[in-house]
């Protein structure tokens, strides 16, 4: 059974600082997805990583995938308040279209 674990689950950081969220998954996959959720809202797609070594960047966020280590990272550079949200990673189960989600990392960026 596929398990997807994120850490940390809660992250409070100051504006201007850097930090990394980690996503480990338990079974082999060459795809990994990152989503953002604002309070009371639905999930919005951030990154789709489709191969080992894939790196995607948008603004202050950069995601990478290491399929051998079964690890994806979401790196935050010089955080700003607008990045405050909950971030989810997800991995497909058994090559299917079903995604298994991590529990989410609630990020709070303080001025």
């Amino acid at each position: 059974e596929l398990k997807v674990e994120q850490n940390p689950l809660f992250l409070s950081m100051q504006e201007g600082k850097n930090y990394t969220i980690y996503c480990n998954y338990s079974t082999t996959s060459d795809r990994l997805y990152w989503y953002r959720q604002d309070p009371g809202k639905s999930l919005e797609s951030l990154f789709v990583l489709l191969s080992n070594g894939a790196v995607k960047q948008e603004g202050r966020l950069m995601a990478s995938l290491d399929t051998k280590a079964r690890l994806s990272t979401l790196h935050i550079t010089a955080a700003v308040h607008d990045l405050s949200a909950t971030y989810f990673c997800a991995s497909p189960q058994g090559g299917s279209e079903k995604l298994v989600f991590g529990k989410g990392t609630k990020l709070t960026v303080n001025p």
């Binding site: 797609s45 995604l99 529990k103």
Partner: protein, 113 residues
């Protein structure tokens, strides 16, 4: 842009009522999903569908059923609503293969009293 529309943003229903949650997507996606989201438990898959009239149970199907009579519409049915079904319900769709991940609807916050 793909749109996934959930018919209700907020719903309040009484225990024992039959509840229908509707989801419509406008991009001819074959795959559609229903998740529920609860604090501390993350997103859990209730049911999914790969094609019209085709459905498969997810991880927590008990107390729920689904209907997919047309490709664009995937309905979640609570046969007899209970208070432990109070939750945020999220519908999602994707084309296959899922190179683009899911597109989620805006969610329905259901309260069963």
């Amino acid at each position: 842009d793909v749109k996934v529309t959930q018919s209700s943003r907020y719903l309040v229903k009484r225990t024992g009522e039959k509840v229908f949650l509707e989801c419509v997507q406008d991009m001819d996606h074959e795959n559609m999903f229903w998740y529920r989201q609860d604090p501390g438990l993350g997103l859990r898959l209730i049911y999914f569908s790969y094609d019209v009239k085709m459905k498969e149970k997810g991880d927590i199907p008990e107390g729920y059923s689904v209907s997919r009579e047309k490709k664009e519409r995937f309905s979640l049915i609570l046969e007899s609503a209970s208070t432990n079904q109070t939750s945020m319900y999220l519908c999602a769709s994707t084309m296959g293969p899922a190179n683009y991940g899911y597109t989620f609807g805006s969610g329905t916050r259901l309260t069963v009293v």
